[in-house]
């Protein structure tokens, strides 16, 4: 009985079905543990957490420079900025918008930098449902390769104040 002191000699190895279950459960845990390093080396979707310390002012300047040199159009007053294949692009999260609109080509690989000017934000790419954390002071680099084309939405999924629900952005991927 679990509420009374156990009889002497309780320390013994499991037997029967219990022993079998402990073995099965341990095996399953080991399989799951190995799956992650396996996917890190052989899988195509990983969060490596590549990031650099950056001041809010410096990051804002980088975004501005990126927008000035690479803008290809505007939509609803927001610049559409194209990243050169293999190149670096800078996305800004702030209360309560993502800036600018990013334009990519399907099948090309890009280094997409994300950081925040103010609070913590969430980069949530829909309808793919890919999610990454955005912190002020950290330049978070996602090395991404779009495998589908179309217009994708970015929504913020980290609480960032009263206007949080209206914080959106856009990524356009062309074939």
């Amino acid at each position: 009985m679990s509420i009374y002191n156990p009889p002497a000699g309780w320390f013994k190895a499991p037997t029967g079905a219990e022993r079998l279950w402990v073995g099965l459960a341990l095996t399953w845990c080991i399989i799951m543990s190995l799956a992650m390093p396996y996917w890190h080396f052989y899988g195509k979707q990983n969060s490596t957490g590549e990031s650099y310390r950056v001041s809010v002012a410096d990051y804002g300047a980088r975004v501005q420079q990126f927008v000035e040199s690479n803008t290809v159009g505007t939509e609803q007053g927001v610049p559409i900025v194209e990243i050169a294949p293999g190149g670096d692009g800078y996305l800004l999260a702030r209360m309560w918008a993502f800036y600018p609109i990013i334009k990519l080509k399907k099948g090309q690989t890009y280094r997409l930098h994300i950081s925040s000017l103010d609070l913590q934000h969430g980069f949530s790419l829909q309808p793919l449902n890919m999610n990454f954390q955005v912190l002020p002071g950290y330049d978070h680099v996602l090395t991404i390769t779009p495998t589908s084309s179309g217009i994708f939405s970015i929504i913020c999924n980290e609480f960032c104040g009263i206007g949080h629900h209206s914080m959106t952005g856009r990524i356009i991927v062309e074939d």
């Binding site: 499991p14 079905a17 979707q45």
Partner: protein, 575 residues
């Protein structure tokens, strides 16, 4: 039950007139501990009610067809709900559980009455301070209060006071175990329930220290003493509090499963070394699980993420999988011992499902394992987390661990705490018998709705998924809206179950018939031994039914796990 009592040593260390013998179990009840168990339990239920009202308002806001609150009040009530449920209700109940396990089961007095007063007072003051700042609109920062979001200093101070108060209660429990050992109030090893409670207490010390380490600088920062708190450091340290505290809950919940198994059907663990070993795995390996809130964060690398999720976390998963077997196995052995040997599941069918102590505990076990356990491991897989982080999949997971699991187990235990500790009987016993099913069913439905809405990408902690006022039009699939409707219906049912619980408990505690001096009225009649019962004469306990259930569980686990890897392979490539 009564037979084993005879073997208890009867030399407690209680001062004269500060102990009574339980009229039902004959266990020695320290009257000081009893008083504080009552106080903490009552306060816990008040916080549960506050959190429950909040839950209803939140569900009716996130149900798009209703969308009740405005944005400001949605986030305010969300902050209130999280802290009252996850911290105040659960922590208060856990202190009561620690005082019970430390004193009654070890035949000892509570180590310090004054420490218990200080603990109770600080926890109450801290919690009330936090609630006042939230309702006053001074702390719309959600439970996690991620910097640089800033609340009033009183908010952080309230949490610090609460945490220090709770820490004093935990140390009082550990001191109680020490004096029991010193005074030889028991023989041999401590009972399994005390062992589990001790594991919970040890993890709680780590948890509360993390709380102090993160909250004290943040408090100073909110007063302008410190100029900046690094957001990445804050997240790592805060989750040392936030996630470890959930492991305290798991430990407490599993201990209660064992306790209720014994109280309801007289179950005893098959192999105590296995059960205790599993608790030790929790202590050693659970703390690092805080990593799985940071799996898509900058500031920490892939090696750190994978190491802290897999090697360490899965040994804690192993522990839960072991308890998930040994608990039902002990029920199976007890029921087969009573003659319910027919077929694979005759023992389960004959279990006392009309006893809310049993049904609540067994539903808690099933909901925690199949719902919370499987989703927790899958969402906490480093790469799969890309598809889950900060979506409704996350609250979909933890509402079936901490609510369908822990809270339901606490509710089930209450059906014994009220008659045994408050010495009062329940009214409306039919409602009592229904309550665990209503609550468990509602919360499961709600979590299913949340999880699937999250799979569509619906974010958690989000007032309006129409993104009104946003610079671009964004919307979700009709399926996501349907899932949020299911979530809303489930939540309403769960809140009805919660209100039933609160009303039944309040009616019993304050107005129930006094039953001091008599054994508690049993929740179920002991069923007659079947005529065709055959007693198994072999030494080894057979648990074929539990093994089948466990293998069904493992199969469900594997299907969900590999399905998620397949879904992950379909999204954009990212490193």
């Amino acid at each position: 039950m009564a037979s084993a009592v005879d073997s208890l040593p009867i030399v407690g260390n209680h001062p004269q007139a500060e102990v009574r013998s339980c009229d039902t179990t004959s266990l020695p009840v320290c009257l000081t501990a009893q008083q504080f168990i009552r106080w903490h339990a009552v306060v816990a239920v008040v916080f549960l009610l506050i959190g429950g009202i909040g839950a209803l308002l939140l569900a009716l806001t996130r149900w798009p067809a209703v969308h009740l609150l405005d944005a400001e009040w949605y986030y305010r009530i969300l902050t209130l709900h999280g802290l009252n449920m996850l911290i105040f209700w659960i922590l208060s109940f856990e202190i009561a559980v620690l005082y019970f396990a430390g004193t009654v089961l070890l035949n000892t007095r509570l180590a310090s009455k004054w420490a218990a007063y200080v603990c109770f007072g600080m926890m109450l003051v801290g919690s009330v301070m936090v609630d006042i700042t939230i309702m006053g609109g001074k702390a719309d920062v959600l439970m996690t209060s991620y910097v640089p979001l800033m609340a009033t200093p009183w908010f952080y101070l309230g949490i610090i006071i609460l945490a220090v108060g709770a820490l004093i209660g935990v140390f009082n429990f550990l001191a109680t175990i020490y004096i029991a050992k010193r005074d030889h109030t028991y023989e041999g090893s401590v009972p399994l329930v005390v062992f589990g409670a001790t594991a919970a207490a040890i993890i709680a010390v780590g948890t509360l220290l993390h709380g102090a380490v993160v909250m004290i600088p943040t408090w100073l920062w909110s007063m302008g003493v410190i100029s900046e708190i690094d957001p990445s450091w804050y997240r790592i340290t805060w989750w040392g509090l936030g996630h470890m505290s959930q492991q305290v809950n798991v430990c407490a919940m599993v201990s209660i499963w064992y306790l209720l198994g014994t109280l309801t059907v007289g179950a005893k663990p098959l192999n105590q070394a296995v059960c205790r070993g599993a608790f030790v795995l929790y202590i050693l390996f659970i703390n690092l699980a805080s990593a799985h809130h940071l799996l898509v964060d900058p500031g920490v690398g892939a090696g750190w993420k994978i190491w802290n999720t897999s090697y360490a976390m899965y040994l804690a998963v192993l522990a839960s999988m072991i308890h998930g077997f040994t608990v039902p196995a002990s029920i199976e052995v007890a029921m087969r011992g009573k003659g319910f040997t027919r077929g694979m599941f005759g023992w389960l069918a004959a279990a006392p499902w009309s006893n809310p102590g049993f049904s609540g505990f067994f539903l808690s076990l099933i909901i925690f394992g199949f719902g919370g356990g499987i989703t927790g491991v899958v969402l906490g897989t480093q790469q799969i987390n890309i598809m889950a982080h900060n979506t409704l999949r996350i609250p979909g997971h933890f509402h079936v661990t901490v609510v369908g699991g822990t809270t339901l187990a606490f509710m089930a235990l209450t059906y014994y705490v009220v008659p045994l500790i408050f010495q009062r009987d329940f009214y409306a016993k039919t409602l009592c018998r229904l309550q665990p099913y209503v609550f468990g069913g509602g919360i499961t439905l709600m979590a299913v709705g949340m999880s699937f809405a999250g799979s569509y990408g619906v974010p958690r902690r989000h007032w309006d998924i129409e993104f009104t006022g946003g610079q671009f039009a964004v919307g979700f699939d009709a399926g996501a809206h349907a899932m949020l409707g299911i979530m809303g219906v489930g939540a309403v049912i769960a809140v009805i179950g919660l209100l039933m619980y609160v009303l039944l408990v309040v009616a019993a505690v304050f107005f129930g018939p006094r039953i001091a001096g008599q054994a508690m009225p049993p929740w179920h009649e002991e069923p007659a031994r079947p005529a065709d019962a055959v007693t198994d004469q072999s030494e080894e306990h057979k648990t074929p039914g539990t093994l089948v259930l466990a293998i069904v569980f493992l199969a469900a686990f594997a299907v969900y796990y590999f399905a998620n890897w397949m879904w992950l392979a379909d999204v954009w490539e990212v490193r």
